[in-house]
Every structure is written in C-alpha cells, then in structure tokens.
C-alpha cells in the first residue's frame, strides 16, 4: 500500500527533490529548499490549461498535489466544455506518466535507438539543416505537427520561412474537409461553422457521431443534452441516419439505417419531400428537381414513408438542424453529401440560427489532405531530406495505408520525431527529441473563433523533455547562426515568445488570463447566402470486390485516431456498444456471420485491394447487411504487452485496408472508400466483453416512460408510489444524508465517468484476461440495455455503481464490520479491516463490489498519479464506490473553515464532475432545497431492483422515449 508516496517521483523527475513537498514514504522526508507559494504540501492547487488530446481544445484544470498532477477536471469557465471532460481528456494523465515515455533524446545507431544528450542530438539535426540551407535546398525540409494554429503554429511558420523550408504542415486524420468544401460551395465560405444543437427542436444527423468524436464531442454532447434531455423541458427530437448503430445512433429517438454511402441522396430526397409538403424555401426546389424519391428509397434502403416522416419532422421544426459527419461525410462523395445537408438547413431556414458561421471551428485550419499527399509524394521522389514530426502525429498508423507514408518516410535522409513515446512512426525516426507533454508545456489553442485557451505547465517535467517551441528556436538559431535576441528567431524560449505574443491581447492581465484558462468573447454570426445548382447525389463509389462489404472505418470514442490507445485506462474502459475491452474487432452483420459460420470471437480475415487484417468478429444484429465496421485507432503500447495482453497483433486498425482514394471535391481522405471480403480463419481470439447480456430479462433495471406520460406526470405528479416497508425503524441521520441521482434520460454512455472514477480513486487496471473473466475493477460501469427488435433495438444506458443501500445486503454478512453503514448514509468499506471473505460480493444484488484478486501494479511512473487521499488497495481486499468519500471529507472541511454547512455544489463526485450531460447529481438528501432531493421525488424517479427492499441511496430517473421511437 504505497500512498502519499512522494519519493518515487524523484526517480521520475530529475529536479523533483528541489521543488518537492515534504511527505515522504518510509524513511526520509524532504523539506522545500525554497518555499513555493503555490504549493502547500498536502493541499491541492489547481492550474488551468487546455486539453490537447484532440483538436476540440477543451479547458482543463489540473489538480496538483505535492508537486505532481493527480487529476484532470474540465474548466468550468471554459465556453467549450464548461467543466465537463471526455474519456480521453480524463486519461491524458496516463500520457503524462506513460511508462514508455522517452527518458531523453534518442539517436538511431545501428538497428535501435540509443540515448544521447540534447546537444549531440540537436547537433545532428542542425548540421543537416545547415548543410541543406547552404546548398539552397531549404525546400527539402518539412515540418509536420498536429493542429497547431496558436502561437506555436505561428512560430512554426516563422521557422519554416526563416529556413526556407516547405510550409508547415498540420496533420489531422479527421479534418472534415468535406464540410469546409461544402460550405465553400453552398455558402461561399471556407469554414466549418458552429452548429447550435442546443437551440434546435429537431436535429437530423447524417452520421455525425458527436457523442464519440465529431468536431467537439464534449461541447456538442453538452449542447445535445440541453436540446434533448427531458429534464430541461426541451425534449427535442433527434434523428440519426447511419448504416451502423453507433453510440450516437443509440442516443437518437429514431435511428434510420441506410445503405453505406447513401446519406447524400437520402438528404436530397428528404429535402424534395419537404418542399413537396410545402415546408421550407421553394427557391431550392429546382436543386432537387431531378431527385427520384422512389429510386432513393430503394437504393438507400430507407422506406419512402420514413423519408416523408423525416421531411415532415424536419420541416416543422422551429428551428431544426441537419448535420453531417462520421462515415457519411468522409466517403468519396462526402462533399456532395454535405452540400445536400447544407441545402436542407438553408431550405429550412436554419442558417444563421442553428448553423452559425463566425465562431468557426479550428478544424477549418488543418492543412488539406491533398497537400499532405503532395508531401508524401515528394518524400517518395526523395525530395525531402529532413522530416520533422511533432508529437501527436503518427501518420504510419493513422493515415490510410494506400497513401504509402511508411515507404515514403524510409526515403527521407533524416526523420526527426518529437513524439513523447514510441509508436509506429518513431520506429522510422533517426533522431528523437522528446517534446514535453501538454501538461508540462506553455502554449495557447483556439478551438473556435473567439475562444482562445492558454496552456501552462502544471508540474515539472516527468521526463527529460523539451517543448517543440524551444527546440525550433534553438535549432533555428543554430542553423541561421544568429544568437539570442537577434535574427528572425530572437526569443530565448517559447515561453518568452508566447508571453510577448500575448502582451498586446492581455495588456498586463496575463495572470488573470492564465487563471481563467484563456480569453473568450462572443463572435457575431456572419451572414451567408446559400446558392445551389441542380444536384443528384449518388452513392459513394467503393473500390474492391463488388460483392464485398462496404468497410466502415470510424474513429473510436476511446482512441480517436490512435492517440489514446497507449493509455491503459482507455483500453480497459469498455466500448459502450459492444462492452469489449483491450482488443479491436470487426463488426460483422448477423446474416453474413451466419453465412460464414463465424461467431463472436472467431478470427476473420478482412481483405481489401490494399491489404488484409485479421480480427476477431463481433456479430452484430444491427449493422447494415452490406457493411462491416472496424474502429480506427486500435494499437497497444509497448508496456501493455505482455502485462495486460498476451501478444500484440501486427495491426488492428482498418487504416491498413484503405487506399489512396479521396473525396474528389474536397480532396479529403476517403475513410469510406473500399469494399472488403471476409474469410473465416478458424482461429479464435475471444473478445473481453464485460456485459453478459444486453437483455435485462424483464428485471426493469433500466426503465423508461413515454414522453406524453412523462409530461403529464411532471404536471400532476405520479400516482401510486409505494414506499417499501421494513421491519426495522428507519435510519436516522444526525448530520448529512448523502445521495446520488442519475438521470438515465440524459446519460449518453460516453464512459467519461468510468475513467474519471478510475483516476480519482486509484482503481487499478487488470488486463484483457482478467477483464474477460469478470475481474475488472471499475467502481462505476455503463451498461447498455437493448429492447425491441434485435435488428433495431432501443438502447438505454444505465450507469451502475454502489447503490449505498439503507438496508444493505452486503453489510450484515461481513464478519468484521469492514462493510457498514455510516451515519451520513454511505456504505462504508474499511479496507484495512477487510479479511476478504467476499461474502458481501456475493450478497450484493447489483454486483458492484470489486475484489483485488492479485496485487495490482502501477508501472512507474504511473504510481506518481495515485491520489494521495485514497488508499491504494492491497491484494485480497474488497473495494467499491465510496461516493468519493475523500471529496466529501474535503468539502465538509472547507465548509467548516467557512463556518457553515455543506451546500449544493460544494462537493462533486468525480463521475458527476466530468459528465458532459450532467446526468449525475450528488447532494444532501436531508436538505429539501438540494437538487438531489428534488430529483429523488421526481415522478420519473425509481430505484433499481426496488422489490428487494434494499432502499438504495442512488435514485435513477427513467429515460423518456418519444412516441415514434
């Protein structure tokens, strides 16, 4: 049990001892040499920064204890995420403390990479660059980074200009270029607008997977909740068109399954029918004059009645909103599809209302894929001598194999990677100059116009790393032979450059801006005019065996383009739809599976004209019969093998199957571009699937109520609510009575709470075999319960955690009082008293108690992340959700300092804090004014397995289903 274990960080960070707090484990305790006013040992301090796990750029607060960051939370002031954080943001810590992180510069000698000093490593680069510059071959130098449009981007541009190198390339595999192009075509504006979901009455999404990855997942999920949740009284309608029942589709009131690549024609048909119904702007009538609805219905497999119904629903919406994304707008016909969607919005008069140009998304600044392709061609031709790759870019893994980046890179004289940890691309690098993790770095990032977040170091670097900016400055000056303060790159450090760049903006208010996490202002919507010529969108053109299956390669909620895959937390957090962990899979439609004779877990060979992949099958009843789906981004980090998974498969990402095909109109990569054939290999690779069944067997775990009924109950209250009677006197609560309320209607199943809890409570990672055998340790889990026809079920997501029962079955059976009832209404679990009889685990009807089957390890330096306020459990101990008791204690402590009692909002549990849809509410049930008390008495309130009379302290609110769902 190592806790408050500071000393290990000294091993981790060179300079830690000097800045360290004082509590050492075991023998020594180290005082500060010079007191650091920001850090009081034992007291958390918070630093605002910006999450860079994806281009959404959410605001983050980093909790620093004793000089080390132990938890990330959303920045409540930040306009994009307003305090919430997604699963990847929560797991960013594991990038910071990643066991595989480069301990310092590396230089390739012979086969492998060998450690080197910064001086030597940089010298290699400098000499090469200087030589090229001398020879006037500056164009042979290319700098590729992830999307950096802030100060760092500008600096990079300066740097490339100063060295006469090729223009700085920003590489984002999912750049939504089709949306840009379509905006250009329809509205004459090259931008990705802001979609005001929160204000729409009806949202029709063509594959836009905003719960998973689309544009700004936290931001749009929040907006969606506001437009859709019954709680806020809007109860808008959400219709989703996609061949696969994705997580987003499961959240739709109506999921329309269409043939892959036919979203465009569906949109046009809807537009035509809408206009026929006399709804919407007639000016667009001739645009769809040539659309044959019958033919569309037949090719897309969407019944004409459904199309008409969509048209009516959308047409009547005041306002509505049509959005496109995911596979729908990343096919070979992506732009046409998006144009059609734009027209829907234009005709319905949503432009300027729910479609807002002005606060444009940062995605609009990504270097076009066409230019990336050109760079790769140049590399192939051997025109590139030096290639610098920033962190976060892993083209070998993330880009379609058809692009041939790997081969091209082999022809580059000097590949310099600034990655923080090894990946497929660093395997090709000659020099590695490890960049600092974004939690250790200065910077700024503007996710959309008007919102600029500031990054600041939240702790001293865990590894010997230098920020990209500093490296560029140092190298640049060395190449140019100019010294500090002079020349085009005069700044001593990137930090200095950043502050200089910001001075005119903040005008001395730097500290305030830092504290707030950035600066934001409202951006007025720009007026745009929609124009359209006649359209006839066809289906996406797919290469490969005509009899094959359309390959749906979609970005994964957990790994995005693969950046997240090295985090064990994300690997062990189940994919909500399949509940699978620690492996990739190919989703095979049931019909095809039956034909091939494969069951879930049988390895299937997926072949396309560009490659083949062997993956275990996941048989899906919902997937379109002409499609197979494989999530992008699956890969393992070196330390995962064999610690958590037996062996690392050669490839798990469908990028290996994709060709060079692009969407002609936009030049964007075509993620929907090939047909694949399936073959049974006979091998088996059972998937670790955590949920035994999605059928709740009439046990009413996840309940729902019809919208009309819900409205009525909201007015009149619900009749016939009975209290379970008990032989014993009700418990009296002298002080507080903590309770939790979970709105099943709001939960979208994004799993953010699962990882947030894991980070907060030192929950260990168990690995594939253990997870598959029901030994995972998550204190909270998101269950998916399916109802209705197998091919078209309605999914309900039920967050399940310790119910903190008043009449808890787990307590009386414990022989040593390790499980008992606290006088504040919690189920206490005293780890150091637990003997491990596991009786409580059997007797808990919800099976939410977790047992430490082994002594689980936290590979260095991951143990540095452990929350000092929570005991790390030894082997043989039972553990479970504590409602974040450490936060409750802290909250009460602060209240006492302020000489008052705890109020709503003083205490947020980790799961509640991170939830993008505010589905979870914690509070004091004795306080009649508290939110949780209100929810507990809501007509939608119910408790799981109520008939057992356990009287849970966790209340659930029924999901509200729409009439037509």
């Amino acid at each position: 049990m190592n806790r408050r274990d500071f000393f290990k960080i000294v091993g981790a960070t060179g300079a830690a001892a000097a800045t360290a707090g004082c509590q050492g484990a075991g023998e020594h305790i180290l005082p500060l040499v010079v007191p650091n006013e920001q850090l009081v040992p034992g007291v958390a301090s918070w630093f605002a920064t910006v999450c860079r796990e994806c281009p959404a750029g959410c605001g983050v607060l980093a909790r620093n204890r004793d000089g080390r960051v132990v938890k990330l939370e959303g920045n409540p002031d930040h306009p994009v995420n307003a305090g919430a954080l997604c699963i990847r943001g929560q797991a960013a810590l594991q990038g910071l403390y990643h066991p595989d992180r480069f301990a310092g510069p590396r230089v390739r000698a012979g086969g492998g990479l060998t450690p080197a000093t910064w001086e030597n490593a940089q010298k290699l680069v400098v000499e090469r660059l200087a030589a090229l510059r001398g020879a006037g071959k500056g164009r042979a130098v290319a700098l590729v980074t992830q999307l950096e449009q802030g100060s760092l981007g500008v600096l990079a541009d300066r740097w490339t200009q100063a060295l006469g190198a090729r223009p700085h390339v920003t590489l984002e595999p999912f750049a939504y270029e089709a949306i840009r192009a379509a905006s250009r075509i329809t509205f004459g504006r090259d931008a990705i607008p802001y979609y005001a979901l929160e204000e729409a009455q009806v949202v029709v999404s063509f594959g836009a997977d905003f719960v998973e990855t689309w544009l700004s997942t936290v931001g749009y999920t929040r907006a969606f909740a506001r437009m859709h949740a019954f709680r806020d009284g809007r109860a808008g309608t959400f219709i989703h068109v996609e061949p696969r029942q994705s997580l987003t589709a499961s959240n739709a009131d109506e999921w329309v399954r269409n043939a892959p690549g036919t979203e465009g024609m569906v949109a046009l048909a809807v537009l035509r029918l809408m206009l026929e119904e006399g709804l919407g702007d007639r000016r667009f009538a001739d645009a769809v004059a040539r659309v044959d609805v019958k033919q569309v219905a037949e090719r897309s497999g969407v019944a004409e009645a459904t199309l008409r119904h969509l048209a009516r629903a959308f047409g009547h919406a005041r306002p509505g909103l049509a959005i496109g994304g995911g596979v729908a707008v990343s096919g070979t016909n992506a732009t046409e599809t998006q144009v059609a969607i734009n027209l829907l919005n234009a005709a319905a008069g949503n432009v300027g209302r729910t479609v807002r140009f002005g606060p444009d998304s940062a995605y609009g600044r990504v270097t076009p894929y066409a230019e990336v392709a050109q760079l790769v061609q140049a590399m192939q031709r051997g025109e590139i001598e030096v290639l610098l790759l920033g962190q976060g870019v892993n083209p070998v893994h993330a880009l379609p194999a058809g692009l041939g980046f790997a081969e091209a890179a082999r022809r580059v004289g000097l590949v310099v990677s600034l990655a923080t940890q090894p990946d497929e691309t660093t395997a090709l690098a000659h020099v590695i100059l490890p960049d600092t993790h974004w939690l250790e770095a200065w910077g700024d990032y503007a996710p959309r116009e008007g919102v600029t977040g500031l990054l600041q170091p939240t702790m001293s670097p865990v590894r010997d790393a230098r920020p990209l900016g500093d490296v560029l400055l140092a190298v640049g000056r060395a190449v140019l032979g100019s010294e500090e303060g002079k020349g085009p790159l005069p700044w001593a450090s990137f930090e200095q450059y950043l502050k200089a760049a910001w001075e005119p903006v903040v005008r001395g208010q730097w500290a305030a801006a830092l504290r707030q996490g950035g600066v934001w202002r409202d951006v007025a919507p720009a007026a745009v005019q929609a124009t359209a010529g006649p359209l006839a969108a066809g289906a996406a053109a797919l290469e490969g065996d005509a009899g094959g299956f359309a390959l749906l390669a979609y970005p994964s909620l957990r790994f995005y383009d693969g950046r997240g895959a090295s985090r064990a937390w994300l690997q062990e957090a189940p994919d909500t739809m399949t509940q699978a962990v620690w492996d990739a899979w190919v989703e095979v439609p049931a019909e095809a599976a039956a034909r091939l004779g494969v069951a879930t877990g049988d390895v299937v060979r997926v072949s396309s004209p560009h490659g083949a992949l062997e993956l275990p099958a996941y048989v899906s009843a919902t997937l379109h019969p002409q499609a197979v789906a494989i999530p992008l981004g699956h890969r393992y980090a070196p330390y995962h093998v064999p610690r958590y998974v037996a062996a690392a498969p050669t490839a798990m990402s469908p990028a290996a199957l994709l060709g060079p095909a692009t969407d002609a109109a936009s030049g964007g990569a075509a993620w929907l571009g090939v047909r694949v054939t399936l073959a049974r290999t006979g091998a088996r690779r059972p998937l670790a699937i955590l949920q035994a069944t999605h059928d709740q067997d009439h046990r009413e775990l996840a309940q729902h109520v019809d919208l009309r009924a819900a409205r009525e109950q909201a007015l009149r209250g619900r009749a016939g609510r009975h209290e379970t009677i008990s032989m014993y006197a009700d418990q009296v609560y002298p002080g507080y009575h903590w309770g939790l309320a979970i709105d099943v209607d709001a939960c979208v199943g994004c799993q953010a709470c699962v990882v947030a809890c894991q980070a907060e409570n030192n929950v260990a990672v168990t690995g594939k075999a253990s997870a598959a055998y029901g030994r995972q340790l998550h204190w909270i889990r998101i269950e998916r319960w399916a109802e209705g026809p197998a091919a078209h079920p309605t999914n309900t997501f039920l967050p399940m955690l310790c119910q903190h029962c008043e009449v808890a079955p787990c307590e009386p059976v414990c022989p040593v009082f390790a499980a008992y009832r606290t006088e504040e209404g919690l189920n206490g679990q005293v780890y150091n008293r637990c003997v491990g009889t596991r009786y409580c685990g059997n007797n808990c009807p919800y099976h939410v108690r977790r047992f430490n089957w082994f002594q689980y390890e936290f590979p260095a330096p991951l143990e540095v992340q452990l929350n000092p306020d929570v005991t790390v459990r030894q082997l043989g101990i039972m553990e479970k959700c504590t409602m974040c008791i450490q936060r409750i204690i802290a909250g009460k402590d602060h209240a006492r300092d302020a000489k008052r009692t705890v109020r709503d909002g003083d205490i947020l549990t980790a799961c509640q804090q991170t939830c993008p849809t505010r589905a979870i509410t914690f509070g004091n049930l004795k306080d009649d004014t508290s939110a949780v008390t209100g929810l507990r008495h809501s007509p939608r309130a119910y408790t799981v397995l109520e008939e057992l009379g356990t009287r849970p302290g966790v209340t659930y609110l029924k999901k509200v289903v729409r009439e037509h769902a």
Partner: protein
C-alpha cells in the same frame, strides 16, 4: 445375539483382536501413507502459491466470489455429522449396533472438522488477518460482527470441534488403559500417561457413565445446530437459490447422508484388512444401508420441495435461476447429483444389497460424489445466474483450487490412516458391553 455364527468372542478375544489392529503395519500401509502424503504436499504447494500471488490463482470471479473452497468446506462439515450422530444420538437411543463402528466414526468426525476448518482460511483473501474474526479484547476496541453467519460458523465449528474431541478422548480413556496393561516398554509409558491412571474402579465408572451420557445429550443438539448454522451462510443471503428457510433441515439431512457414506467407505476396508468380521457384522452393514436409504429419500423430498417452492413462489429471480440451473452450463452437475443422491441409494431396497460390501462401497462413493456436487450446485450455479444480468458468468476451476481441494482429501486420509494404527479403532469397552458377561452359573445363561 442369536445371529452370531461361530462362538461369541470372549472379553479376552476382544482385547486380542483389537490389539492386533495396532501391530506394526506392513509395507502396503506405508505405500498408501506416502501416496497420500505426496498429494497433500501438492495441495500445500498450491496453497502457498495462492497466499503469495492472491486469491486470483483460484478460479473465482464476479459473480462466483465463492466456489470450490466453500463447497468443500460444507462437504467436510457434513461428513463430520455422521460420527457425532452415531456416537451421541444412537447412544441415547441405546442402539447397540453402533458400538463396533462408533470409534472410527468419531475419529472421522474430528478429522473431517479439522479438514473443514482449514477452508475458511484457504478461502479468505487475507488469511493472515483471519484473527479479526475472533472475539478478543484488543487496542482497537474492535469486535467481530455477531450478525454475520460467518462468525456463527466460527463459534459453531470451534464448539463442535472442542466437544467432539472431548467426547472422543473420554471414550478412549478406558481403552487406552486396556492398551497400557497389554503393552510394554515405551508404548506402555505413553499409554499410561494418556490413560490418566484409569483402573475401572466402581467410583470411576459411575461418574464416567454419567458424564458420557451428558456429553451425548449435549452433542445431539450441537450436531443439529452446526449444520443449520452452516446452511444459514446461504439461507441468510439474498442470492436466488440460497434465500430459503428450507436449508437448515435440508443440510442436516444431507450431512448425515454423506456422513454415513463416508463411514461405510472407511469401515469396510478396516473390516476387510483387520479381519473384524466378528465385530462389524452384516447387521451393522444392514443398519447403515437402511440409514443411507432413509436419508436419501428424505433428501429427495427436499429436492422436490425446493423446486416446488421456486416454481410456486412465482418469484421471477428464483424461477429464472432454477430454469438456468436445470438446463444450462452446469446442468450436468445437477443431474449427476440427482442420480447419485436420489437414484443410486434406492438399490438398498433390495435386502441382499444392504449387506453386500461391494454394493455398499460403490453406492457410498457415488453418494459422496453426489453430496459434493450438491454443495457445488448450491453455490456456483446459483451465483452464476443471480439478480443482475450484467454480471452473469461461468466459473472455471483453476489448478490451484482443484489442487487444494484434492489436497484436503489427502489431509483427511492421512489423519485417519495415522489414527487406525495408533488408537484402538474399535471400542474395546463398548464391544465387551455388547457381549454376554461371563457367567459360571448357566442358570443366568440367557442375557438380557
């Protein structure tokens, strides 16, 4: 005693025959001994591994937080019961046929309880903290939770072990005295010590007899309580398939059932190898067979009523659990159990079978298997299909828990093998009691 064929053994014969069983054993005996010891060593090795690496070494999981260990624990406790039943209950009923087998049965009880007692330790995640379950004043002011059936177990089993041991030793004293007077050298000195200077004087006998009767009177309710308490480990829990008031009598009957099977398994070889046919006669076998048959029938009744309640209650969870057990993954274990416990013993309706050693032996083995699986079927499948569909799951035994369970059998037989060579496995005194006391005057010939 009209059914005695050849001449009734005299008191002297009894001493001779019983002492014969204690003669230095042959190599066959040692061969058996070493085999058993080897298996035991394996079990211990597995246990060490489990303590070192964690309970995960055993095949347990969510939802089967309990599995083979508790199964075997209950099994052994059950075995113990026959011993006490024979020595105490039948004593009170003055069933004379008990005398020739009760010593072995009692020894079996103690060894079975000793074996069972290991399992809670083996089972615990942190067995080095098992002393938390004991009520002793400590600096933490902490006490066990007396509401927990597991603490009841601690009390029930330690009491059971203590009382059975006392009972056993008291029963031995006069016999050891007999050994003392029949042996010489170091053996004599040891036996002299253990005999506490027993002489069989009238004064000793009168208190002895009274005390013995009282022990029997105490042991009888105890034996019933112990297995009831064990059954409450399950009945007190919420789990569908456990939460039943039927369990206490159900378990007690099952215990006696399996216990007698074990007695047969132990006594028949003894009879064969030591040639004790004069003492362990067909009427003994017959009586045992009859008891096995009766308890089997009662058990069948319990099985039926268990199913009936599940169906009749209309409780969705109970029904679901039942149907799952009967039809799914572990159905084979269930049907095997039904065969061994309900069908196999029916052969004892045939008179010949009741006295045929081989038949009895085979049936007994089947019964033991059946009863082990009864506990398995109560624990593993019930947990596999509980209240919460998300966590439904299948338990797969691992080398560790299998090894430890097998080791426990080795441990038991090791103890028993040791016993039969060191202590009179037949009660000299009580056997003599059943014989007609020597009379010179034949007018008193007919014994009453």
């Amino acid at each position: 005693m009209s059914d005695q064929p050849t001449g009734t053994p005299t008191f002297a014969d009894v001493n001779r025959d019983v002492l014969r069983t204690l003669e230095p054993p042959g190599h066959r005996y040692f061969a058996w001994m070493s085999v058993v010891a080897l298996i035991l060593a394996g079990g211990i090795l597995f246990w060490t591994g489990q303590v070192w690496w964690g309970i995960g070494m055993a095949g347990k999981r969510v939802p089967q937080m309990w599995a083979l260990y508790i199964t075997t624990f209950v099994f052994w406790i059950g075995i113990g019961h026959a011993g006490t039943l024979i020595s105490a209950v039948l004593y009170l009923f003055r069933a004379r046929w008990r005398t020739s087998i009760y010593r072995a049965a009692e020894a079996m009880t103690i060894f079975a309880v000793l074996t069972a007692g290991l399992f809670p330790l083996i089972h615990a995640g942190r067995m080095w903290f098992a002393y938390f379950l004991l009520p002793y004043p400590n600096q933490r002011y902490l006490w066990p939770n007396f509401r927990s059936p597991l603490v009841w177990d601690v009390f029930a089993i330690s009491t059971y072990l203590s009382i059975s041991t006392v009972f056993f030793i008291v029963g031995l004293v006069p016999d050891i005295a007999a050994l003392r007077d029949a042996s010489t050298g170091w053996r004599r000195r040891i036996y002299a010590l253990l005999a506490l200077g027993w002489e069989g004087s009238d004064n000793q006998w009168r208190h002895y007899r009274r005390a013995y009767g009282l022990f029997a009177a105490l042991a009888t309710p105890l034996v019933l309580s112990v297995h009831s308490v064990v059954s409450w480990d399950f009945a007190m829990a919420l789990v569908p398939g456990w939460h039943s008031t039927l369990f206490a009598p159900f378990f007690v009957d099952g215990a006696i059932f399996s216990g007698f099977a074990m007695v047969a398994v132990l006594v028949l070889p003894m009879r064969h190898f030591f040639g004790l046919h004069a003492y362990i006669r067909d009427k003994h076998l017959d009586a045992m067979s009859k008891l096995i048959l009766v308890t089997s029938l009662v058990l069948t009744y319990f099985y039926l009523s268990e199913i009936f309640t599940a169906l009749y209650s209309g409780d969705h969870f109970e029904k679901a659990s039942l149907f799952w057990k009967v039809t799914r993954t572990y159905a084979w274990a269930l049907w095997l159990m039904y065969f061994c416990n309900c069908i196999a013993p029916l052969i004892f309706f045939v008179k010949k079978a009741r006295t045929h050693p081989v038949v009895i032996y085979v049936v007994s083995i089947l019964v033991l298997i059946g009863m082990w699986f009864e506990r398995f079927n109560i624990i593993v499948p019930s947990l596999a299909h509980g209240f919460y569909p998300y966590t439904w799951g299948i338990f797969v035994p691992s080398p560790t828990d299998t090894g430890i369970v097998i080791g426990s059998f080795a441990w038991f037989f090791l103890l028993f093998l040791g016993f039969i060579k060191l202590m009179p496995s037949l009660s000299i005194v009580e056997v003599k009691e059943t014989l007609p006391p020597p009379m010179r005057d034949t007018r008193h010939g007919a014994h009453h």
